[in-house]
Symmetry: D2
């Protein structure tokens, strides 16, 4: 969740844009080159303390903060992830912010936008079809069916697709095997697209994607399957960022939505806690502030004020923040728009002037196990890490296959600093169970999957989708 | 495959359009109302004799014909289906026509366009997720797991997904059952969108979709599952037609791509046959002309001339057409553009002035079995129809459930007039095997699946996708 | 269902027997050699008209007839199939006959006996395990996974095992594929054991069993998989027939229980029809008598008299039999034992003196299709045969693989002369649908599976098993 | 593996036996009552140090010891488990002992015997069929499909059956769900039969078998499914022990073959170690001696001497045993029969006179977790126990369901004292991973499954079965 304060957005002249309907544009990639000599902006990351299940307002604060900088006479561009339609139509409803701090048009933002997620789905599943076709056509590369890691993706919350057997039927219907679907946001293609710095880099990263291994334990890549070119072609439009705006006309760049955050830095923290959670919230906030500093970044604590909160709660939070030596400011983005976030914007601007340099929490030449254990103990407060036999075997394989120098991104619940969603505050003494480790060789990182966290969500008993409808005049209702 | 000669396209003023990039626009639905008082155009349908596996040039002739009308001083708008990305990246390569008779920009036309197919995929699979979630949450409606007809769709050629077991895993992973995927073009949602006459009609048709039956044999609809509203919302943009143009700037409406043709009328027929196939081709052509007349329409035969053809072949075709009493004209759309199709355009214009009225091949109050048997024997030349036990049971159920008055659309191979792709010409004496009958209650028709025809294609040993690539400057290559 | 009148059983001296408990013995195979010079007995086959779902008393009449010959001063040995535990514990209850015409001890006869069925299960499933192990170990023979015909068997009515996916799990858990279970009685090993004439012939037939095909369409045999030797060893005891006795001490040979009858000859026919079924019963009886004669055998009609029958029914049956030129006799095996079957025994003895020679209904050099169609039309009264695409392909393959000269044994419901259990009497004008054709190369025949007939039964809502129990003193109750 | 020295076997007069062929008898259950007043014999348990993969000769020593007692003028009866046909035809070859210390006839002993294992298979699978039929017939008890623990069994090494999806097909083919097969020896029915003290107790234990849980977490038993009676009836013969003899005519009781040992007592220990393994062997032997004493039993160490061993190895073993305070004796059962085991028999007889009383390693009122952890740390030398989330949940459920007082039997590899087959000697510092815990409520114990241990073995690349054959004269070759 990132809000970038930048001088650049005003330079996105119409000839660098392609319009998609009346409210959305794609930015041509030649903008990168055309604007290369402009000064760099400051990059402000908005994160949160451990949230309630309904979210906590990161987007609203981010949008409000972007708007607020304009009230201070500064130019800012908001940069946020595109919402995933699965959760949007599942539990969350819309993800455009709220009240006077929203991205518009909300309907387009929440659904399809310019089709980038769909292009990821298409490219990902084309590779899957090519993998299974390779097996079907005689398996010339000798792909081993078992560690065949390339699953399929859909942008729908659909637990029934987590574990499937495919290739059933008759002689013309493929090779039977176990597989499954993840949500599109969890696709390695999504991560590749997020990290690509040019068309050539996109093509090269796709080529490096490892779909599985031969029986002799050699990795097999998308390039070997002749799939990377077509995947890149499918993503030709998706690689261009989308430009929208806030209710106060602040430019908003929307591009991709990788599953989970990469990096754990936090520059501002929000709390809307119940009274009984204050103690837990305090330890959580203190630990989050510490974690921001671990990465060499200056933290600012934002208190997202709701009319129904108790002032005593705000004061308690401010007290904790000050004791931890962090700037703190209240804000009211939903009810007051940018105007209600000016105080926070000033604190952020001040913090941004402080010297500081981002650093990884772990040494870059550490082994994968060392990196995982450093994050688990230093950032999350674990007492140690337990690996399943599968995870242990995978880590060994990745080191041997030359993936030991990749970055590590922990996939775990966001409902706790630990891997157990029921542990609140800043839990210690727990052990982080790693049940599986996946390598995204194309994207360039390895991600351990910890605890019972899912890469394909399910729908609830009354999913958000039940309330969404299309009126006869074409108006969409039910996306909040 | 339809080419509509119309006066309307010039009336699509900019305020009725929404641009999507620099070469594509969506037409706002208010155009329907705004242009309601303009005179109706003539509707020319381009079909073909039984084709070779590589296709036969229907799109090229259609585009050429549209261009040719402008050379005659008449206004024409071409209307064609959006290509399915599965076959485009599978066997066919691009589907934009060829040579000087093409739709541009070919890359956008062939891939994604404005995302309508992806919206269909999303809406269809959301309904599937809701169906499986309903089972998982306790199955309050008592859905019977066995005749649960609602499958999932992807716009990828992927035979490994034809027959799958889903819902495996643990207690949190859904209810195990057999299911499968079709290609997006075969989705009932695609058909619904093709047939919808307004937003309200779209919403109503989606609501009527039958996903399965209760154990007491009552149909269960998308509306009962609270899914139709969200599906309609997902399709809010897709319902608007797309506007592109040909190389000669003839407007081209591109909208949806239902699987197989609905209706069997043929107004013009193309042949590019090898000498040894002339005899078979003749009987096929004669039967196709007869089939056009069965529906009350005047046929015109087009001979799509390739430089490598023998003139004797053209003459043979012309002789057959004339004996059958049909107009005939040679055309060269790929090598000469609209100019090479003027003679054909004149013949078509002449035929369009003849009186004629479209009629169904069968009586509309016939039973489903009678309709199937009429089409099989009268249009396809079958000696009779054989039903599998499953198909027989389904037809009985549909009649009982009140679907007996729906139209019938035969799903069978397009590589023969029969259901056996190896039978060329106009085969007789064969029996049409109906292995399954699906009801698209929302779209409003029933489709028997005949012979070994698949609703999910597979990839070949060297799929088209292997040749597609994205160059560093963003150029897509390999889509012909 | 066979009752053999023979002088041999008295020659089975104790040194040719191995006792299994106090009431059952196995006959050593050296008896074959030792008794080779004794005169051959007459072979009397007991069959029935189309039965009611509860059976019709074939075993009771057979046992009664065997007992009756002793009353005539003739020596007879009863030979019957061992009951399958699946149906015994499913729908049928015991199969030992009834009243005063029973095989004893009924509990041992109905369950396990000397374990022959279990040995078939073990040998069959060992071959299956070796097949899947061959795939797992690298598939050196190149077995094609798809036409892999060798399923598994269990002697339990268990519909949930008809269609399964096996080999799931991880890298150490085999190769995923679709397969299924049949009931043990349907095993080709059971048929092989029934037809084997010596240990050497058993070993040779097992070796010839075809489990599947290579990708180059070469059949793969049990011998190639090094399985035939161990299978034969497993069957070393099962190859010896079991000797029991009736309540009147008539010897009873019990050996094997192949699924369905091989051959369609009928020497005596039973009826216990309801009044309203008399007309249907008449045509059925007439057709059954005709079918016996087609095979060159002399028919005798037995009327199995129940106290609750109407005498008018008996007379109607006798009238039909006489019109058809067949001997007819009433019998009361259940209520009167052998004494009640003397009249029938005399009629059978008389018929057995008539000249006659068994012949196949079809020419032995006919193709498989011709054989199937001859049986369907001449014996069952069908108007013709419809083959599914799968069945058509299989027949083509079998002819090509050299199995075209094998015998044909139709697998269909026994509840009708047709393949549709709802058609009573002697139906005509129906077409026999062949959905699959299996080759038992080891047993030496090909069997088309017709209609919706199952090779693995299911349990009903209140299966027989619910009433079976073991009392504290070791008495088994609930097997009737 | 048990060898019982008893005065009883001579009292098994012929009227208490039922012969099964010429070499095997079943003992009638009335023998229990008839011999109730005879004095109790001493019970000698033969176990081993951690073995080589090929086994270590426990049966040979047991048989030799039984024979040796006769040389001492004492009466002894050998009691051993019936071999499982899966491993016999898989990796092990025969299990009848070797050389002059064998059970005869070896062919019958190794395969089928009197069919007891097959009866267990049949009873177990009948219950499974009834469970799936219950789901199919409407699931009146509301069985939850997910913790549905009752799998199926076969006495074949068949890894492809470990994880399967069953109930596929159509509406008549059952309810799809995940399940799997274990080897028959692992069946709870096998354990029930091993532990039953009478027919009534057998019936009662079968009735208590828990097959799964309702959605409200109530256990569902075999009795509730009306299955226990039929299961008991199927086991009516299997409940009787089998009587065979050794080559020296010592009586041998053979009955059941539960998977893994129940109880961990060791009264005599065998070693045949390579020189380089002496050190590891020493620590293993020391720990095994300690473990015997933990249970209150007096250990005797047997050195099973092979001609190819080095005398220095024997001396090393004897030194270790003596240091640990245990009696030690060399023996040569294979080459010399009972005569070569006299010295060991004397040591055993002497030890048997010592006072001692068997006790559990854990307190009987401990929780299941406490029991598991006591065995892991005290007997196996583990540093602690790790539970998978599944195992933790299951233990919680079992305590709640009232199974907390059941005994605990650890299921783990026999190739190490630890749960990791690669750790030799007496490893310490390792943690025992419990991946799943199964409750055998009928048998009366709970068994945690530790490490990667399988309940269904697979076949190797050249399974024993390849060498087994049946000669034309009926001789079986290739076993042992």
């Amino acid at each position: 969740m990132a809000g970038a304060a930048s001088r650049r957005s005003r330079d996105l002249t119409p000839d660098l844009l392609e319009y998609h309907g009346e409210h959305v544009a794609k930015v041509k990639l030649e903008a990168l080159e055309r604007l290369a000599d402009r000064p760099l902006a400051k990059y402000v990351v908005v994160s949160a303390v451990t949230p309630t299940p309904l979210g906590e307002g990161k987007t609203t604060v981010t949008v409000g903060l972007g708007q607020a900088f304009q009230h201070l006479g500064r130019t800012a561009t908001v940069a946020i992830r595109q919402p995933s339609m699965g959760p949007t139509l599942g539990i969350k409803g819309g993800a455009a912010g709220g009240g006077y701090s929203q991205v518009v048009p909300m309907e387009l933002f929440n659904m399809h936008l310019t089709g980038d997620f769909h292009a990821v789905t298409e490219a990902h599943n084309l590779l899957a079809a090519i993998v299974d076709n390779h097996l079907f056509q005689g398996n010339a590369l000798g792909l081993d069916i078992h560690p065949l890691a390339w699953r399929r993706v859909l942008d729908v919350n659909d637990r029934a697709l987590r574990n499937v057997v495919i290739g059933l039927g008759g002689a013309e219907d493929g090779v039977p095997r176990q597989s499954g679907f993840d949500i599109t946001a969890a696709s390695e293609v999504m991560a590749v697209l997020s990290l690509a710095t040019s068309v050539a880099d996109l093509r090269a990263r796709l080529a490096r994607i490892v779909v599985g291994y031969t029986k002799g334990r050699e990795p097999v890549t998308a390039e070997q399957l002749h799939a990377a070119g077509a995947m890149a072609a499918i993503l030709a439009e998706a690689v261009k960022p989308n430009l929208l705006q806030t209710l106060e006309h602040t430019p908003v760049l929307v591009h991709m939505g990788p599953f989970g955050n990469i990096g754990t830095g936090n520059s501002s923290v929000l709390a809307a806690e119940n009274p009984e959670d204050v103690l837990a919230g305090s330890s959580n906030l203190r630990k989050q502030i510490e974690n921001v500093r671990i990465h060499g970044v200056t933290p600012v604590v934002a208190v997202n004020v709701f009319p129904s909160d108790h002032p005593s709660e705000w004061q308690a939070i401010e007290e904790v923040a000050r004791q931890a030596g962090a700037r703190v400011a209240r804000c009211r983005p939903a009810s007051e728009g940018g105007n209600g976030v000016v105080e926070l914007a000033e604190a952020v601007a001040e913090a941004a002037e402080e010297p500081g340099e981002f650093r990884f929490a772990y040494a870059e030449d550490a082994t994968l196990r060392e990196k995982i254990e450093t994050i688990a103990t230093r950032v999350y407060g674990a007492a140690g890490v337990d690996y399943s036999p599968l995870a242990a075997r995978q880590l060994e394989d990745y080191e041997r296959d030359g993936f030991g120098r990749l970055a590590v991104c922990i996939a775990k619940t966001h409902l706790s600093l630990s891997s157990d969603p029921s542990l609140k505050g800043a839990p210690t003494g727990w052990r982080m169970p790693v049940r599986e480790v996946r390598a995204s060789a194309g994207a360039g990182y390895v991600y351990p999957i910890c605890g019972e966290m899912q890469t394909m969500p399910g729908l609830g008993r009354h999913p958000a989708t039940f309330d969404v409808d299309l009126l006869d005049d074409g108006t969409i209702v039910g996306l909040s």
